[in-house]
């Protein structure tokens, strides 16, 4: 009964400061507390809602932590083989050019096993949106080294830290795809603070709206955290991200269409 009393007292329309979009399903998110994925999911669905495009948006989920993205987003979605999301999205978009089509991929999916699909979809200038959540680690499989793991950073497959001379340097694939003539808009954002999330949402909206222009691919990287993989508390993880990830992966637009 106590709950009801509280509800009656506080949950009133005029007190509402935040409400999840209807385009997120009622299913509780399966991500770790503190993980950035939930925020990015919300932003993407808010953008689709604002564009009034639920009936013409198709998403492609990757293999990785966000493999089950389709459980949370109330739109038509396909689940791709590891790294192949841009290939699926290419076909879906070309066969339904009037639809908004996006991929939602992590760093292992997009920048390791799916490098070829990523680069070629970008190079062909497919009129899709790629959302790239980069947390420098393989979360779902239990914290292995990713193509974007920082030098010296520990993971279960670089337990003494990433040694660049034997394991290679982290890949700045976002800068790489920005070099390709097929990309129209390339930006790097974060969602660790309300201000950053607001900026990221603007970028995502632009990336979706660009699909109407048919001028090429829009690529949005979100530098994010993985507190469980990094073995930190959520607050520590966000601070570590600010101190270590941002200097290597600086936030901001990388390629902006000329007006």
């Amino acid at each position: 009964m106590a709950e009801n009393v509280i509800n009656k007292d506080i949950v009133k329309e005029e007190n509402l400061v935040y409400k999840k979009t209807d385009l997120l399903t009622e299913k509780p998110l399966s991500y770790c507390p503190g993980c950035g994925h939930g925020t990015v999911h919300r932003l993407v669905m808010e953008v689709v809602e604002e564009l009034e495009a639920q009936d013409k948006t198709v998403g492609v989920a990757p293999v990785g932590c966000s493999v089950l993205a389709y459980e949370f987003m109330d739109i038509d979605m396909q689940q791709a083989a590891h790294g192949r999301a841009p290939a699926l999205a290419t076909a879906i978009k070309r066969l339904f050019p009037e639809n908004y089509v996006f991929t939602y991929q992590g760093d292992g999916d997009l920048a390791a096993i799916g490098t070829a699909e990523t680069i070629h979809a970008c190079n062909r200038g497919e009129n899709i949106t790629i959302i790239f959540v980069n947390n420098g680690i393989y979360g779902m499989t239990g914290g292995q080294m990713a193509p974007t793991t920082l030098p010296g950073m520990k993971s279960s497959t670089s337990p003494y830290g990433r040694e660049v001379h034997s394991m290679g340097a982290p890949m700045k694939i976002t800068e790489l795809v920005a070099e390709l003539p097929g990309t129209y808009y390339v930006t790097r954002q974060a969602v660790h603070t309300p201000a950053a999330a607001r900026k990221a949402k603007k970028a995502l909206k632009k990336a979706f709206e660009n699909q109407k222009l048919q001028k090429g691919l829009s690529f949005v990287e979100i530098v994010s955290n993985c507190n469980s993989g990094w073995k930190m508390t959520p607050v520590q993880a966000n601070q570590w991200m600010v101190d270590n990830m941002f200097p290597f992966y600086p936030l901001g637009d990388i390629k902006v269409p000329e007006e």
Binding site: V67, Q78, A87, A89, A91, I92, N99
Partner: protein, 358 residues
């Protein structure tokens, strides 16, 4: 009036795709099937029917484009040859696991590895037993002429959509490269997006207000649900085995021995039947047209009539295993084949029959 053309098998299947109203083709060049993509590009199918044709960055990307397009409910196909088909296995098992219709052409060349570009039939196991990981099957159609390369586009898509399953056309370098007379069909209209939504209410066409969202996935982390799904797949394959077996028999009525051969081998064996009959041997031919489902029931019947079966394949002997399973040890089953891109001569086949059985 019927329109007759002289075409390569690879060209015939490409023309058939345009005329059948196929929505998308995604491929990557490899000998001996590159003419499929070349022919499509030359024909400007975007202008003829609005068909999407794209040269992908790899066979892996191409089959995953097929996966995407098929998930959107469209008629999608790809083609490749053996090494490329190996690369496509990842996408094929996802397509089977997500129960999507599509058509995959394999113009088989000799292997293993890079092998040779000459014709072979050594991808039988890979085609009929699954190919990728997990318990799945594809319907496998084996054309023996350029006309059948043409005809099996429509047959294949009909079956693919009827059962929501990938269908493979298992051809070989000889049929892909050879030219024959082809009767081409009428140009069919591609389905409109509204028709696609009606035919495939499960497809990712965009969730409108009056339905739940559609999800194309092969993932189910709950073992019980995954087992239930596997039972569902197996029931589907059983139904296919009951309803969709296709084969052709040549002079089996009075036969004491039969050849079992598909595709190019079955063409060779037709001549071998003539040669053997000229020698007074009562020989016939059973040509499986579907390799999965396999004409096992008919072979079991024939095993009560004939004294022996010679499986003739351009491989070390793969289909012979299915023949042996079918005839339940009633009669001896022997293999004759050539490998590495060599096509056996009709005379060799008759000699093998005589050596093994007479």
């Amino acid at each position: 009036m019927k329109e007759l053309r002289l075409m390569k098998g690879n060209e015939a299947i490409a023309e058939a795709a345009i005329r059948a109203g196929v929505d998308g083709y995604f491929g990557y060049p490899i000998t001996p099937q590159s003419e499929v993509l070349e022919y499509l590009m030359l024909q400007k199918p975007e202008e003829r029917t609005g068909m999407v044709v794209l040269q992908a960055e790899s066979e892996v990307a191409a089959i995953n484009m097929v996966y995407g397009g098929a998930g959107a409910g469209k008629m999608i196909m790809t083609s490749s040859s053996s090494p490329g088909i190996s690369l496509k296995q990842e996408g094929i098992t996802y397509i089977a696991g997500a129960e999507l219709p599509c058509l995959i052409l394999n113009v088989v060349r000799g292997g293993p590895g890079l092998g040779t570009i000459q014709p072979a039939q050594s991808d039988y196991f890979q085609s009929v037993k699954g190919g990728g990981h997990g318990d799945y099957r594809m319907i496998v159609l084996a054309p023996f002429s350029v006309q059948e390369m043409y005809d099996f586009v429509e047959t294949g898509f009909d079956l693919a959509f009827k059962y929501r399953t990938p269908v493979m056309v298992l051809s070989d370098g000889a049929i892909g490269q050879m030219m024959e007379k082809v009767e081409v069909g009428e140009q069919k209209q591609r389905l409109s997006n509204e028709q696609v939504k009606e035919r495939c209410p499960w497809a990712t066409t965009g969730k409108d207000a009056n339905r739940e969202r559609n999800i194309i996935t092969s993932l189910d982390l709950d073992p019980q649900q995954q087992e239930d799904f596997n039972h569902h797949l197996q029931a589907k394959y059983k139904e296919i085995e009951e309803k969709e077996v296709r084969f052709e028999e040549i002079q089996t009525e009075d036969a004491e021995y039969i050849f079992v051969a598909y595709g190019t081998s079955s063409r060779i064996c037709q001549k071998s039947v003539q040669l053997a009959r000229a020698k007074g041997l009562k020989v016939g031919l059973l040509r499986p047209i579907t390799l999965f489902p396999f004409p096992s029931k008919r072979l079991l019947e024939l095993s009560k009539q004939v004294k022996g079966i010679l499986s003739v394949e351009m491989s070390a002997g793969q289909m012979i295993e299915d023949i042996k399973l079918a005839v339940e040890c009633n009669i001896p089953v022997e293999h004759f084949g050539r490998m590495g891109g060599i096509i056996p001569s009709p005379e060799e086949v008759v000699e093998a029959l005589e050596q093994k059985f007479l």
